[in-house]
């Protein structure tokens, strides 16, 4: 028996927590302590067990085995008392969209039994804290993502809980609002509250005081993030200023036995060495490539990959089999003054850019910025209100179906047909793109071989391990050998190893001359792109290489600016300009 610790020095105690759903083991024996006054990150890819652990801590479910003690209360036995001590913000914030801001607040205040005469003061305090004061009568459904998140937080904070549980609060929220949330959480922990922040974004982990790293239901690491990243000290390097193609260089460096992991980061290549290896081999490689080898601060994501045994190799079996793309003309995707209105609302406002052959082009922006609308117009799924879009020189308005044959599309969350087997999914995709007879059989066989899908042909896609699911989705989008590949949020929520494998293929394809278009709100993904277009409020606010965009941020301290910093900086610039121009108008 484990003694129940009621001492305030521990906010949450996890004691051998197991949770099974039928045959699925979502959590496999988690031990750990969460401290008050401390921001604890619950980090891991989708399906790692984060939400399950959150729900267990909130007393919404009972563990199959083990015990959870929250603020000195057992999560099962004292679940009624527990709810008075926790604040829980589920994914999508748990708000009633058809109630106003104030009505939502009042509901939660009543449910939590707050004294009626304290309502006004509490609401005032929370509204000021979340800066929602001017919007009290607005319906929650009409708020922006960032504002919804703040209202959700305010509702969860209603009774000043001892433990605040936030389940993926950063999803679908623009970086500026996320920044705001960090500030608020900081203030809360300073007051002694224990805050648990679940996230699939590994870069968010670095901001936490402590981290629980989950993977496939197992606790891989618990402690300060720096403790984990320090393991990579002296092993993290960056290759700079080389004169060769960086993707080619990356695939070569990943094949070195002393290298465990490597990714493209803007113009540089990040390399992590194996634990007991010497850096001579890499130094020699760098010298040969004419590159500068520079030690760098390790990142949390790299540490995670290292913890899982290193990343995949650098050669894409897929790309090797593809013939190089030959194409006349330089610009594969082109749009000019592309505009789309939905009623009075303009979703995409005069967007223009060109994408060259073999380029990886990123379209970034918070939810609602207009990137999906722009993307859909480029794929021929939506007609522009004004302006034109061309793919491989074909005007989508005139030659829509002809242009569509030249492009491959991989939708969010892979969008495979769950009721069809792997084989049937492949056959369907081949059929849809007009492949027939011997050619169809040959292409399917080729994909099955390349991606080693052989033993899964009869299974349903949902039974596949995530990595294989991703391969299948990629295979379905590529069988007809498209000249342009559209990827919609291709790796958000995916574990870093699967993501690296994915980008190895994408890099290989780009090298063969396939043009890649990516949309994402995931700032890390932008680093893989050659050029990035930032969208904000339907407009294109910046278009450049990741390095140039990052360089525009004034560096404070020795911290390197991230893509997210760059994004926030640019958005703030736009907001300041807007404010200044409206001031002038007012005057």
């Amino acid at each position: 028996m484990h003694p129940v610790d009621a001492a305030p020095s521990i906010a949450v105690e996890l004691d051998g927590v197991v949770k099974r759903f039928g045959a699925l083991e979502a959590l496999r024996g988690i031990h750990g302590r969460i401290l008050p006054g401390c921001l604890t990150g619950l980090v891991g890819p989708d399906g790692a067990g984060k939400t399950t652990l959150m729900r267990l801590m909130a007393g919404l479910m009972a563990p199959t085995a083990g015990h959870i003690t929250v603020a000195g209360l057992d999560s099962v036995r004292d679940s009624t008392a527990l709810s008075d001590n926790i604040g829980y913000m589920p994914q999508r914030f748990g708000l009633y969209e058809d109630l106003s801001v104030l009505e939502n607040l009042r509901l939660y205040a009543e449910l939590r039994g707050l004294e009626r005469r304290t309502h006004r003061d509490t609401f005032e305090r929370l509204l000021e804290f979340t800066r929602l004061g001017p919007f009290t009568t607005r319906l929650a459904g009409k708020l922006s993502g960032g504002m919804k998140q703040k209202l959700g937080l305010a509702c969860a904070l209603m009774a000043t809980p001892k433990v605040l549980l936030l389940d993926e609060p950063g999803v679908g929220v623009d970086p500026v609002s996320r920044q705001d949330l960090w500030r608020m959480v900081q203030a809360l922990t300073d007051d002694g509250m224990a805050v648990v922040w679940a996230t699939a974004y590994l870069d968010e982990a670095e901001r936490c005081a402590a981290v629980f790293l989950l993977n496939e239901g197992q606790l891989k690491f618990a402690g300060a993030p720096s403790e984990l990243t320090n393991r990579l000290k002296e092993r993290s390097f960056r290759l700079l200023n080389y004169r060769r193609d960086r993707r080619e260089l990356l695939s070569e460096v990943l094949e070195l036995t002393s290298v465990s992991d490597g990714v493209i980061q803007g113009n540089a290549i990040r390399v992590v060495l194996r634990l007991d290896s010497q850096h001579e081999a890499v130094a020699a490689f760098a010298a040969q490539a004419g590159a500068e080898l520079q030690p760098v601060t390790p990142r949390f994501e790299d540490a995670f990959v290292d913890l899982l045994g290193g990343g995949p190799g650098g050669i894409s079996a897929l790309a090797q089999k593809m013939a190089p793309v030959t194409l006349d003309g330089d610009n594969v995707v082109e749009c000019r003054n592309l505009t789309r209105c939905f009623g009075a609302f303009t979703a995409t406002d005069h967007v223009s850019f060109q994408v060259r052959k073999g380029e990886i082009f990123g379209l970034l922006g918070p939810n609602g910025a207009g990137k999906s609308t722009t993307f859909k117009m480029l794929c021929g799924l939506l007609r522009p209100t004004a302006g034109e879009a061309r793919v491989v020189g074909l005007d989508l308005r005139v030659a829509g179906s002809q242009a569509k044959r030249q492009l491959g599309y991989m939708a969010q969350k892979f969008s495979l047909y769950g009721l069809l087997s792997v084989q049937q999914n492949l056959e369907f995709s081949a059929g849809v793109y007009g492949l027939e007879g011997a050619l169809k059989r040959e292409r399917i066989k080729e994909m099955v071989q390349t991606f080693q899908l052989g033993k899964y042909l009869g299974s349903a896609p949902d039974e596949l391990p995530l990595g294989f699911k991703q391969r299948l989705a990629l295979a379905c989008a590529l069988m007809h050998r498209p000249l342009v590949l559209f990827l919609d949020e291709p790796t958000s929520g995916v574990d870093p190893i699967t993501r690296r494998e994915f980008w190895t293929h994408i890099n290989g394809l780009a090298h063969k001359g396939v043009t890649i278009m990516v949309t994402t709100h995931f700032m890390d993904e932008a680093e893989y792109c050659d050029r990035v277009a930032l969208m904000y409020r339907a407009k294109l606010i910046a278009l450049d290489t990741p390095d140039v965009l990052k360089a525009r941020v004034t560096i404070i301290g020795d911290q390197e600016p991230t893509m997210e910093d760059a994004f926030i900086h640019l958005i703030q610039e736009v907001d300041a300009q807007d404010a200044a121009s409206s001031m002038r108008e007012a005057a």
């Binding site: 919404l60 914030f93 959700g152």
Partner: protein
């Protein structure tokens, strides 16, 4: 149970009901449409059915019978001399059948043998109408015969039928009360199933459950507004039935509302049970339609008479709450406050309701774990 939390939940739910246009549509617009349909479009009465009468004989008796057919208000007669004139019309479905008065009609009548007097041909592709044509035709002939006989000897037995409760035998009078049962099933079962599933879908149930609010409070907080909404919709439908469609209300308004209140117990219970099992609105809607709406339509005795169903199905109707409700509603509208009929029905509805609530409660408790 905490009254303050309950009031907060009822308030929240009521605000949502008021702001959600689909609730308003189901509770107030749909009833109007349904009532209009059942009152005007669906009619089980036969009046002015188009038939042909083929008069092959020129005798006085034959002429008189043909006149009897023309005289009745149930038929609209197309006279003919040859059956070939009307056969094509029946095939084209312009006539629902025809009656042949044969050449030797007078001889047949005189010999008074068992041989058939006339021939009736009906369009069997519409069995209901065909049955009416055959039945009414026989009625006309029987009446005519009685008249003929009456000239010589007085009848031994004079049969005069009289229809109680619905003397005009207007189908509207029993269809409209039935329609109210359908509407109440929609509001009680479908709406409740949908709103709880919506809380799961939007993730708000999770947030509610993490507060001190209990499951019982959350569920009662949901049911109360829909209970009131259901009674309002009944009242609206009944007003429409009485003042627009001229359906008599022989019982009292109080009894009508009491019956509706009792019926809402199984209807809401069923909705709650569905919502405990289905966590998304699509499945909830399907389940509500199949387990609530269809039985209420087919097995309640509203359209199809229960007495003419095979025994196993007839037994099955006893677990359909709408059956008991339809029987009571027809009683209160057409007969009056006959408690001997309504009390057993109310008891049955309450019993079914209790079963639904017990099942819903058993299933809801571990909902997030399921």
């Amino acid at each position: 149970m905490n009254l303050r939390r309950l009031i907060a939940l009822v308030r929240k739910e009521s605000l949502q009901v008021i702001r959600d246009p689909s609730t308003f549509l189901i509770a107030f617009v749909l009833p109007v449409i349904l009532l209009f349909l059942f009152a005007y479009a669906v009619s089980l009465d036969i009046r002015k059915v188009a038939i042909g009468v083929v008069l092959e004989s020129d005798g006085a008796a034959a002429q008189s019978l043909a006149a009897a057919f023309s005289g009745t208000r149930y038929f609209q007669v197309t006279p003919a001399r040859d059956r070939r004139e009307v056969a094509g019309e029946v095939i084209a479905s312009r006539l629902k059948g025809y009656v042949v008065i044969p050449q030797d009609f007078e001889r047949r009548l005189a010999t008074n043998t068992a041989s058939a007097l006339v021939q009736v041909i009906t369009d069997g592709s519409q069995p209901n109408t065909a049955g009416f044509v055959a039945g009414y035709a026989q009625g006309v002939i029987a009446q005519w015969l009685a008249g003929q006989v009456g000239q010589s000897t007085p009848p031994v037995i004079d049969v005069r039928s009289r229809f109680w409760f619905n003397p005009e035998i207007e189908s509207r009078r029993f269809l409209v009360p039935g329609a109210i049962a359908i509407i109440m099933t929609m509001i009680g079962t479908l709406l409740t199933a949908l709103v709880v599933a919506r809380e799961w879908e939007r993730g708000t149930m999770e947030a509610l459950l993490s507060t001190p609010a209990r499951v019982v409070e959350i569920l009662i907080g949901k049911l109360l507004p829909y209970f009131v909404l259901g009674l309002l919709a009944t009242l609206g439908s009944a007003l429409l039935a009485v003042f627009v469609f001229d359906v008599p209300l022989r019982g009292s308004w109080f009894t009508l509302l009491l019956l509706s209140a009792v019926f809402l117990v199984p209807a809401l219970g069923q909705g709650l049970m569905i919502s405990a099992l289905a966590k998304n609105q699509f499945i909830a809607a399907q389940a509500a339609l199949f387990s609530g709406f269809l039985p209420a339509f087919l097995l309640s005795g509203f359209l199809f008479e229960i007495d003419s169903m095979p025994t196993p199905i007839r037994l099955l109707t006893f677990i359909v709450p709408a059956r008991h409700f339809v029987a009571s509603l027809q009683t209160v509208f057409l007969a009056g406050d006959v408690w001997a009929v309504m009390l057993p029905n109310m008891a049955a509805m309450l019993a079914i309701g209790v079963v639904f609530f017990a099942l819903a409660k058993a299933k809801t408790r571990k909902s997030l774990d399921a």
